[in-house]
C-alpha cells in the first residue's frame, strides 16, 4: 500500500524526519519497505520569481526573462508565451538534470547561446520536470515559499510504501496510518470531514435492499446522488491518487477510489438508471448464472459466490468487482452508491477463484468493520456534492441484520510483565491505548478496555499487551536467560542414525547433495520396475510445473541428475551421497498420510586420480562404490551381507542385495546404462541405497553406545590359505565359515584371481579361481600352541570343502 505523505499530513502533523518516522512505524508493525519520491529528484531545480520579461533582440517568439533564483538574478532565454513578471516558476540552473520533452529521458542542462544571447538556465515546463507531457507553456507554481527553495519541497511528494500484515485491515488506508502516527508521536489526529448535507428528495421508495444471505453480507447501505456532472476530479485529488498508485479517470470514479484509500472501505457506484426498480438483492448466485464484470469478462457463477443483484439478475460480484451493465459511464447522471460489509472468507474465496484480488477484495478479505459503511457512504456523498455537483438524496438505505456488540477486554496489569518480562509504566500503558483509540477504565489493577470498532484484530488480553508493547517499543526489553529445569530429552534414534550416516559418507569421500523432494513422475518411473509403475504416486494437485509434481519415492533420480549436471560442468570424478526422506502412499495409515521413510544413497561416477590428483584412464568401479558403503556400515558397527541379486535399474551380475541380520536393507550395483542415460549420465555409474528405517529395525542397538571389549592378553597367529574354489562361490561365505570357529578372531580375503591353465593342470573345469583367505587364531584365555592351531585348521578346511567345495591348492 502506498501512502503519499502530503495526504497523510492532512490528517496528522508529521515530524521533520520522515525516515525516522518510517522506522518507528516499521518497529510498531506497519512495515515501510520504501520511501519513494514522486516526480523527479529535481536536483538543483529551485523556485524562481520572474522579475522582468523583455523581447529577444533577434527573435520575435523568444523573450529574455530575468529570474530571482534566491538572492541572485539570472537572465535566460524563454520561448513560452505564458511567462509573465511576478510569476513563481521552476528554475533550472546550468547542470540541472531535466527530462528531455522529446525523448522522455534525463538530460543535463548545458549553457547555450540562443540567437546570440547566452542562456544560463531554464524556466521549466511540466514536461521538462517529468510531471506530464505538457510542453506548451511553463509551469506556474502556486507557492508561498521564497525563491531559492528546492523545487521538491514545493512540488511532488514522498510516499511511504507499506507491506502490511493481514491482521491490520484497519491500517490499509491513510486514516489508519494517521492513527498509528498519532499514537506513536502524540500528534493530534484530524479525521476527514464526513458530515454531508442531504438536500435532495428522500431515497425512501426509490431504492431498497434485501439481504438474502446475511451469513455472507453483514451490512449493506445505499445512498442516492442525483444530477452529478462527470468531469475531471480536482488536481489535488488526482495528484494524491496518482501518488498512491491509482490512475485518475473522472470525478465519480476518482472519488470512490479516493474514499477507499482514505478510509479503507471499498465503495461501489452503480448507474442508478440501469438498476431495475432501484432494488438490490444480496444473494448467492444461482447455479449457471453468469455475470459480465467491468473487465468485460463473462463469469460463470455458482452458489458459492455472493452477488449483488437487481430483479433482473446479478449486477456485481459482491466485494470483488462490479458488473459492466450497471457501470458508471460518461452519460451517468444519477448514482446509486453501495457501501457494504461482506464476510471476509467468502470474498477471498471468490477473488481467488476468479483471480481478481483487487484492492477492494483484499480489504474485504482482511476483514472490515460493519460500522464503517455508513461513514464511508457519507464521505463519498459529501465529495460528490462538492466536486461533481451532485444532489444527495435525504436518508440512506441501511440493512444491518446481525449487529455485533462492542468488544470489551479486561486486562490485569500483572499480565503485561507476565507476558513481556518487563514492566511498562502505567502512564505509558494509558498513553499507548488512548492514542490508538481504545477506551480505558482502570480499577483494582485491572484495565477495562473498550476496543474501537476498527480494531477487529484485538480480542484477548494478550492482544492489548502487544498493543502496549509495540507502541512503547521493544528496545527496552531485557534479554533474560532461561532458568528452570531442562525437560527430559527422549532419544531420537532415526535422527542419530541419519546424522551418523552423513558423517560416515562424508568420511568416505562423498560430497553430500540435497535434492528436491518433488520430481517429475517420468523421473520416478525411470527407476521403478514395470510391474510397480501402475502403483499410485503422490501427486501435487497444484504443482509449479511437470518437473516438480510428484513426491519422490526414491532418491535415485535426484542424485543421478546431480551427477549428470556436475559431469556436464566438467567434473571428472563425481562422488556424491544424499540422505533424506522418500514418500510412499500408505493404505493403512489412520489419518491418510503417506509413510515417510528415511533413505541414503551414494553414487560414484568418473575416473580415478593419480598420485598428483590428475585424472587417469582408470574408471571408478563397483568396488569404489562398495568401499564407501562398507565404510558407512562399518562405522555403524553393523555387519552386512552382500548377495547377488537382481534390482531394477541396476546391471545384472553387478548388483548385490545388502542385508543386515537377515533383513534386506539396501542394494549396491552398477546403474544400468539405459537408466543412467535417462538422467543424462553417459559413463559407468555405481550406486548404493540404504533404507535407513529398515536398517534401524534390523540393528536397533546401532545408535546405543558400544560396550568396550577387553583387549586380548594372549598372542595371536596368522595363517594364509590359498583356496581353489568354484566360480559361484561367494568369498564372503568362506570368510563367514572361518569366523564361525570360536578360535578364529579375524578372517579376510587377501587375494582373488582366475587361474591360467598352466597354473592348475589337471584341476577340473569350474574350479579355476584362486581365493586367498587370511585367518587369525586367538584364544582369550591362553596362548595357542601348534597342536591347537592344527586342530582349528583341520576343522576349517573340512568345512571349506564340505560346505563350499573349496580345497587348498596343491603345488604344481
Amino acid at each position: 500500500m502506498r501512502v503519499p505523505l502530503r495526504w497523510l499530513e492532512a490528517m496528522v502533523p508529521l515530524p521533520e524526519d520522515v525516515e525516522a518516522l518510517a522506522h518507528r512505524l516499521t518497529l510498531a508493525g506497519l512495515e515501510v519497505t520504501d520511501i519513494e519520491r514522486t516526480g523527479g529528484d529535481w536536483d538543483r531545480v529551485v523556485v524562481g520569481r520572474v522579475l522582468e520579461v523583455r523581447p529577444h533582440p533577434d527573435a520575435d517568439r523568444l523573450r529574455l526573462v530575468t529570474v530571482d533564483k534566491g538572492g541572485e538574478h539570472q537572465t535566460v532565454v524563454c520561448g513560452a508565451s505564458n511567462v509573465a513578471a511576478g510569476q513563481d516558476i521552476a528554475f533550472a540552473p546550468e547542470g540541472a538534470m531535466l527530462t528531455d520533452p522529446r525523448t522522455g529521458t534525463p538530460r543535463k542542462l548545458k549553457k547555450s547561446r540562443i540567437r546570440g544571447v547566452v542562456s544560463g538556465g531554464m524556466v521549466c515546463s511540466e514536461a521538462e520536470l517529468g510531471l506530464s507531457a505538457e510542453h506548451e507553456g511553463i509551469l506556474v507554481l502556486d507557492t508561498s515559499r521564497p525563491p531559492g527553495t528546492p523545487l521538491h519541497d514545493v512540488l511532488g511528494d514522498r510516499v511511504y510504501v507499506f507491506d502490511l500484515t493481514p491482521n491490520r485491515a484497519d491500517a490499509l488506508c491513510v486514516l489508519g496510518v494517521a492513527r498509528e502516527v498519532s499514537a506513536l508521536t502524540g500528534a493530534p489526529l484530524t479525521p476527514p470531514e464526513i458530515s454531508t448535507p442531504r438536500p435532495g428528495p428522500a431515497i425512501e421508495g426509490r431504492a431498497s435492499v434485501e439481504i438474502a444471505d446475511p451469513d455472507l453480507c453483514r451490512r449493506f447501505t445505499l445512498a442516492l446522488i442525483e444530477d452529478v456532472e462527470i468531469a475531471p476530479s480536482p488536481a489535488w485529488m488526482q495528484e494524491r491518487l496518482t501518488a498512491a498508485g491509482m490512475r485518475p479517470i473522472n470525478n465519480l470514479v476518482d472519488i470512490t477510489n479516493y474514499v477507499m484509500l482514505e478510509l479503507g472501505q471499498p465503495v461501489h457506484a452503480f448507474d442508478y438508471d440501469t438498476v431495475r426498480d432501484g432494488h438490490i438483492i444480496v444473494r448467492r448466485a444461482a447455479p449457471g448464472e453468469t455475470l459480465t464484470t467491468l473487465d468485460g469478462k463473462t463469469r460463470q457463477l455458482d452458489p458459492d459466490r455472493l452477488v449483488i443483484a437487481d430483479p433482473g439478475g446479478a449486477i456485481a460480484l459482491a466485494g470483488v468487482m462490479g458488473g459492466l451493465e450497471t457501470e458508471i459511464t460518461d452519460s451517468t447522471r444519477n448514482v446509486l452508491l453501495e457501501v457494504a460489509n461482506f464476510e471476509p472468507a467468502g470474498v477471498r474465496r471468490t477473488a481467488r477463484a476468479f483471480d481478481l484480488l483487487s484492492d477492494a477484495a483484499r480489504r474485504f478479505a482482511w476483514g472490515l468493520p460493519p460500522e464503517m459503511p455508513q461513514v464511508a457512504s457519507a464521505r463519498v456523498c459529501r465529495l460528490l456534492a462538492e466536486y461533481a455537483g451532485g444532489r444527495v438524496a435525504a436518508g440512506m438505505v441501511d440493512s444491518w441484520p446481525m449487529r455485533e456488540p462492542g468488544v470489551t477486554i479486561r486486562l490485569r496489569r500483572s499480565r503485561i510483565p507476565q507476558v513481556l518480562g518487563m514492566e511498562i509504566p502505567p502512564p505509558a500503558v494509558r498513553a499507548a491505548l488512548d492514542g490508538l483509540g481504545f477506551e480505558v477504565e482502570e480499577a483494582d489493577g485491572t484495565l477495562t478496555v473498550g476496543v474501537p470498532y476498527w480494531r477487529r484484530d484485538v480480542r484477548v488480553p494478550d492482544d492489548l499487551v502487544e498493543e502496549v508493547a509495540r507502541i512503547a517499543g521493544y528496545d527496552d526489553l531485557p534479554a533474560a536467560p532461561l532458568a528452570g529445569a531442562i525437560p527430559h530429552h527422549p532419544p531420537l534414534p532415526a535422527r542419530e542414525l541419519r546424522e551418523r550416516v552423513r558423517d560416515l559418507a562424508a568420511e568416505a569421500a562423498l560430497y553430500e547433495v540435497q535434492t528436491y523432494s518433488l520430481l517429475s513422475d517420468a523421473d520416478l518411473r525411470a527407476v521403478t520396475p514395470a510391474e510397480l509403475r501402475d502403483a499410485p504416486l503422490l501427486k501435487v494437485r497444484n504443482p509449479l510445473g511437470e518437473a516438480r509434481d510428484t513426491l519422490r519415492t526414491s532418491l535415485r533420480p535426484g542424485i543421478l541428475r546431480a551427477a549428470a549436471r556436475n559431469v556436464a560442468r566438467g567434473a571428472r570424478t563425481v562422488r556424491l551421497f544424499e540422505v533424506g526422506r522418500s514418500y510412499h502412499p500408505a493404505s493403512d495409515s489412520a489419518d491418510g498420510r503417506p509413510e515417510e521413510r528415511e533413505a541414503a544413497v551414494g553414487l560414484v561416477v568418473g575416473v580415478r586420480l593419480d598420485r598428483y590428483g590428475s585424472p587417469t584412464e582408470a574408471g571408478l568401479d563397483f568396488f569404489d562404490a562398495k568401499a564407501t558403503l562398507e565404510h558407512v556400515l562399518a562405522g555403524l558397527r553393523v555387519n552386512p551381507d552382500f548377495r547377488p541379486a537382481a534390482a531394477f535399474g541396476l546391471l545384472e551380475g553387478r548388483t548385490a542385495e545388502v542385508s543386515v541380520a537377515g533383513s534386506a536393507v539396501g542394494v549396491l550395483g552398477q546403474v544400468h546404462p539405459e537408466t543412467a542415460a535417462v538422467f543424462g549420465v553417459g559413463q559407468d555409474a555405481f550406486l548404493w541405497e540404504l533404507d535407513l528405517s529398515a536398517l534401524l529395525e534390523a540393528a536397533p542397538g546401532m545408535t546405543e553406545p558400544p560396550a568396550a571389549v577387553p583387549l586380548p592378553r594372549h598372542p595371536s597367529a596368522i595363517e594364509d590359505f590359498a583356496l581353489l574354489v568354484g566360480p559361484d562361490v561367494l568369498a564372503q561365505n568362506l570368510v563367514r565359515e572361518a569366523l564361525g570357529h570360536p578360535l578364529v578372531v579375524e578372517a579376510r580375503v587377501f587375494d582373488d584371481y582366475l587361474l591360467e591353465d598352466s597354473d592348475a593342470p589337471g584341476e577340473g573345469e569350474g574350479a579355476r579361481r584362486s581365493l586367498g583367505i587370511s585367518v587369525r587364531y586367538q584364544a582369550r584365555n591362553r596362548t595357542l600352541n601348534e597342536n591347537d592351531i592344527a586342530k582349528v585348521r583341520r576343522t576349517i578346511l573340512k568345512r571349506f570343502k564340505a560346505n563350499h567345495g573349496a580345497v587348498v591348492r596343491e603345488r604344481a
Binding site: L27, G29, L420, P461, L482, L518, Y583, D720
Partner: protein, 363 residues
C-alpha cells in the same frame, strides 16, 4: 596378478606361515679358558680391522667374532668364576677393559654407518604435493542445521521431527489459520491429489505443526527444536526457494516471557555469529503467537532480519490443555538457508539445491 600363495611349499600343506611366539631357550654354553687373555695388540688389531670395514654386514660379522656370545672374550668372561679368587680381580679388570675398548670402537663405527646412511638419501622437492586423499563433505544446509541445533542444545532444547506431508489441521487450523484466512496468502500451499471427501493432505508450509503435534502428547516444561523441510508454492529467485529447511523452536513453562525469547535468541545469535551481537524485535504478525515479533540481529552492515517469533497464543495453550494463566511459552521459526547465506556470504539461495560440486567443496 599372482597371489602370495603362488609358490608355497606343499609340504607345509595348508600352513603357509605361522608366526610363532619367539621364546627359544639357549641350547648350549661355550666354556673358554679365561687364562688365554687377549693381548693389547690383539685388541688394537681388531679395532684397526673394524675401522677398515664399510659394509653393515661386515660390521655385524666383526661384532659376532669379537663381542658375540661365542667370542673368546665373552667366553673368558663367563669362565671367570672358575678362577682363583687371587687372580679373578686382575683378569676380570683386564677383560672388561678390552670389552669396553672393543665396544666403544663398535659404537663409533655404527654411528659412522648410520650417519652415512642418512647422507646417502636423495633430497626431496618438499614443495611437491602430498599423495591426494579423496575428500568428501557435508552439505552447507546440513552443517548449518547442525550448528543451529547445537546452539539451542546448549540451552537445553532437544530435537524432534515431524511429518512433511501434513493435515490442514496441524499446518493451519490448530495454528489459528482457518480456511480462507488471509494469512494463507503468504503461505501458498502444495496440496496432494486425494480421494474426494478425504481430509486434504498438503506439504507443510512451515515447521510449526510440530508445536501442536508435540504439545498434544506432552506436558510442560517443553524446550524443543524441530528442523525439517518445508514447501511453498511460489516462484524461485535469488532470495526465494519453493523448498526450504526451517527450524521451529518452542518453549513452554511457568514464567516464560518475551524477555526469555530475546535472551534465548541472543545466545543463539552469539553461537552462530559471534560475540558483540545484538537482537532487535519489531512487531510482526503470525496468527499462532501473541505478541508476534520479527527478529533482527546486528551486523556490520546493519540490522538483518533472521526469523519470526512470539509468545505462543494463549488460545493454543488452552486448546492443548495448558492453563494459559499458569503456563506461557515462546516459539520461533527460522530459515536454515537464510542463516547459511548469512554465515557463508552466499548471495543466491538457488545454489543450495543445484548441488554443484564447485559450490559444495567450499564448505
Amino acid at each position: 596378478m599372482k597371489g602370495r600363495s603362488g609358490g608355497t611349499s606343499a609340504v607345509l600343506s595348508a600352513l603357509l606361515l605361522v608366526r610363532r611366539p619367539a621364546c627359544f631357550p639357549s641350547a648350549f654354553v661355550t666354556v673358554s679358558n679365561p687364562d688365554s687373555l687377549l693381548a693389547p695388540e690383539e685388541v688394537a688389531h681388531a679395532i684397526a680391522a673394524l675401522r677398515g670395514l664399510s659394509e653393515e654386514r661386515d660390521v655385524d660379522a666383526w661384532r659376532t667374532q669379537h663381542l658375540g656370545r661365542k667370542s673368546r672374550l665373552m667366553g673368558s668372561l663367563r669362565a671367570l668364576g672358575g678362577l682363583d679368587r687371587s687372580r679373578r680381580a686382575a683378569v676380570g679388570r683386564h677383560l672388561n677393559e678390552a670389552k669396553a675398548q672393543l665396544g666403544e670402537a663398535l659404537a663409533d663405527k655404527q654411528a659412522e654407518l648410520k650417519a652415512r646412511r642418512t647422507q646417502d638419501l636423495a633430497s626431496l622437492d618438499v614443495s611437491l604435493p602430498g599423495r591426494p586423499l579423496p575428500l568428501g563433505g557435508l552439505h552447507p544446509i546440513t552443517r548449518t542445521e547442525r550448528a543451529v541445533v547445537a546452539a539451542f542444545a546448549t540451552m537445553g532444547f532437544h530435537v524432534i521431527e515431524g511429518p512433511e506431508v501434513e493435515l490442514e489441521y496441524y499446518n493451519f487450523e490448530a495454528l489459528r489459520i482457518p480456511a480462507d484466512h488471509p494469512a494463507r496468502d503468504a503461505m501458498d500451499t502444495f496440496y496432494l491429489d486425494g480421494p474426494d471427501g478425504a481430509a486434504p493432505l498438503l506439504l507443510r508450509t512451515h515447521t510449526s505443526p510440530n508445536q501442536i503435534r508435540y504439545m498434544e502428547r506432552h506436558e510442560p516444561p517443553i524446550r524443543l527444536i524441530a528442523p525439517g523441510r518445508t514447501y511453498r508454492n511460489e516462484a524461485t529467485d535469488a532470495t526465494h526457494e519453493w523448498m526450504i529447511t526451517q527450524t521451529e523452536v518452542l518453549a513452554v513453562d511457568r514464567g516464560l516471557t518475551l524477555a526469555h525469547l530475546k535472551g534465548t535468541l541472543y545466545e543463539f545469535a552469539r553461537h552462530l555469529f559471534g560475540e558483540d551481537r545484538e537482537i532487535r524485535f519489531r512487531c510482526d504478525y503470525f496468527p499462532f503467537v501473541e505478541p508476534g515479533v520479527e527478529v533482527s540481529i546486528s551486523s556490520p552492515d546493519g540490522w538483518i532480519e533472521i526469523l519470526g517469533a512470539g509468545m505462543v497464543h494463549p488460545e493454543i495453550l488452552a486448546n492443548m490443555g495448558y492453563d494459559p494463566e499458569i503456563y506461557t511459552g515462546f516459539a520461533a521459526g527460522l530459515g536454515v538457508e537464510r542463516i547459511a547465506m548469512l554465515r557463508h556470504g552466499i548471495r543466491d539461495i538457488r545454489r543450495f539445491y543445484e548441488n554443484d560440486l564447485r559450490f559444495l567443496r567450499q564448505f
